[in-house]
Assembly symmetry: C2
């Protein structure tokens, strides 16, 4: 939604910076994206990026939230019957990954974690701090089993979207749900 004739508000500016960051992290990875470039793409002064986020790390961490927003994941788990947790999670991630902004963010993260220790550290901190225990609590299963689910979903993204191995890359949403949901569900149901 383009707005003209007035200065954008704080929320809009912040969102514009995050959108630019996701775009640049997505295209160039963690090391290839600078505060200066993010500011330029967002059309703001670099000082504003520092004002809102403090550092490039913080911009990255904030942009990271999108492809795996903890609130959305916990809602997907809680909002519905337990025997369909696997199905809801797979549907949630398929939707996220097929939304251009989230998808670009995910690829940016992937590129970053496989090339820089620092990005892997940040992502690990985010997952361990913001996601793992919340989900383990919501499901009442051990955190180790949540990492099994995470592995299945991360691997789905790698094989379907990054390496694009057929027949998984071209399978419909329904076929992917039918394929992957039972694998996720057995982590939930296991005694």
């Amino acid at each position: 939604m383009a707005r003209t004739g007035r200065r954008p508000g704080q929320t809009e500016t912040r969102e514009a910076i995050l959108a630019a960051a996701r775009d640049l992290f997505g295209r160039n990875g963690y090391e290839g994206a600078t505060i200066r470039a993010i500011a330029a793409e967002a059309g703001v002064n670099p000082a504003l990026v520092h004002h809102f986020f403090g550092s490039k790390d913080q911009v990255f961490a904030t942009a990271l939230h999108l492809p795996a927003d903890p609130g959305a994941v916990v809602s997907a788990i809680l909002d519905g019957p337990r025997p369909q947790v696997g199905e809801r999670l797979v549907r949630l991630f398929l939707t996220l990954w097929e939304t251009p902004a989230s998808r670009d963010a995910f690829f940016g993260v992937l590129r970053s974690v496989s090339t820089t220790e620092q990005a892997a550290d940040m992502l690990r901190g985010f997952i361990q701090g913001a996601l793992l225990d919340k989900i383990a609590d919501a499901l009442d299963i051990p955190p180790l089993r949540v990492t099994g689910i995470a592995a299945q979903l991360v691997g789905l993204a790698m094989v379907r979207y990054v390496v694009q191995v057929d027949p998984l890359a071209r399978a419909s949403h329904e076929d992917v749900v039918a394929l992957i949901a039972p694998a996720v569900q057995q982590y939930v149901d296991r005694a």
Copy 2:
């Protein structure tokens, strides 16, 4: 094993080139490793690399075979009872990923596929051409289900070794087998 005083044979030279390639692809990714650098690290003339492999793509594809040697994977599937296919596959990959050479190769591949289309194309070609149908045939399951297994195993590597999310990163082999093997096995057993 250092040898002195005689020229290494063809097999040894070829292996030295592949070892150097795995090292450089592992450290620098697909684009960062050149034929010249691989030759230098292997202590051979670049012309020899061309002689053995033709192109950098071919060196890469050949080096790729290691972390997922089709023969080893098919053997792991066939050599033992069907109800333990999942367990054997998880054990095989844990062993591969905890062997420095295979692990470096895997990280090299990961770095490459997440940063260059060409590397993703090569890996896809390799998986679809050399792995998928062999495994689907060996297990007598549809290829789509093999990609579900691949997703679970690739994701295991990402979460355990690349992002190093605890408790999965620090779990023992036995705990990882107990966690992941049932997820793999249900792809095999599913009606």
